[in-house]
Amino acid sequence: MSTRRSANNNADIKADNIFIEIEDQGLLKAFVDAEMSHPSPRKVVDGKPIYATRHFGLPKGYGRVVLGDYGSVVRGDKPQIHDAQPDVYRCPEVMLKTEWGFPADIWNVGAMVCTVFIPRGKRDQTLTDVHTDLEFIRG
């Protein structure tokens, strides 16, 4: 269940911040039933219980795809020049320390596609290659 923030707290467009809605309401009932019959493991720290995460099962059909996490948004009607985006996800504008805006999001979608679609093992290299080129241009 998506109640946690990503560990490094970067609110970029990445696989962690794109969610699939629950269309199949049976998932919720199954979740509750499983919790009732086999409660999640828990520990108590400073008098407060901390529960192990219980995952949902597979749905009969996928719900809508939604984009979440607005902890890093900036307004788009004036160009930004500050450093943004983590490491290999940085768009060329940020790498080259020039003005950036809406297109930075589209670049980020491309980087996200690398993480979900390029075969494992080639992903990091693909993104690193792009940034080696950009660093070369930057000089």
Binding site: F19, V73, V109
Partner: protein, 106 residues
């Protein structure tokens, strides 16, 4: 959650619901604040979601999306971005490394 993110959800929830991207942006069902001596604690109530794309990736033994899944996913992500860009006038990919920026929402 900081004050800026809190106000962002307020704006997104009240945006133009007829835009095709509106339903692809995660909104808040409720926002409330618990006052505390050490600083107010802002709380966000949202619909529970199924998996994130990351979770979905990890469920797949090949650890990658199929063409079909990527195509369906991307078209909806782009709708969400169009909503953020044209209706809310914000860039999502923001300030991960910035320490001095305070987004103003118009």
């Amino acid at each position: 959650m900081d004050e800026d993110e809190h106000s962002m959800y307020n704006i997104l929830s009240k945006g133009n619901a007829s835009h095709p991207g509106y339903h692809h942006v995660r909104t808040a069902l409720d926002l409330f604040t618990i006052p505390r001596q050490v600083g107010d604690h802002r709380c966000l109530v949202q619909k529970p979601m199924w998996d994130s794309f990351r979770d979905l990736l990890n469920r797949n033994p090949a650890h990658r999306f199929t063409d079909e899944l990527l195509r369906a996913g991307l078209s909806q992500v782009f709708l969400a971005l169009d909503y953020l860009h044209t209706e809310a006038n914000i860039v999502h990919t923001g300030t991960a490394y910035a320490t001095h920026v305070h987004p103003q929402i118009c």
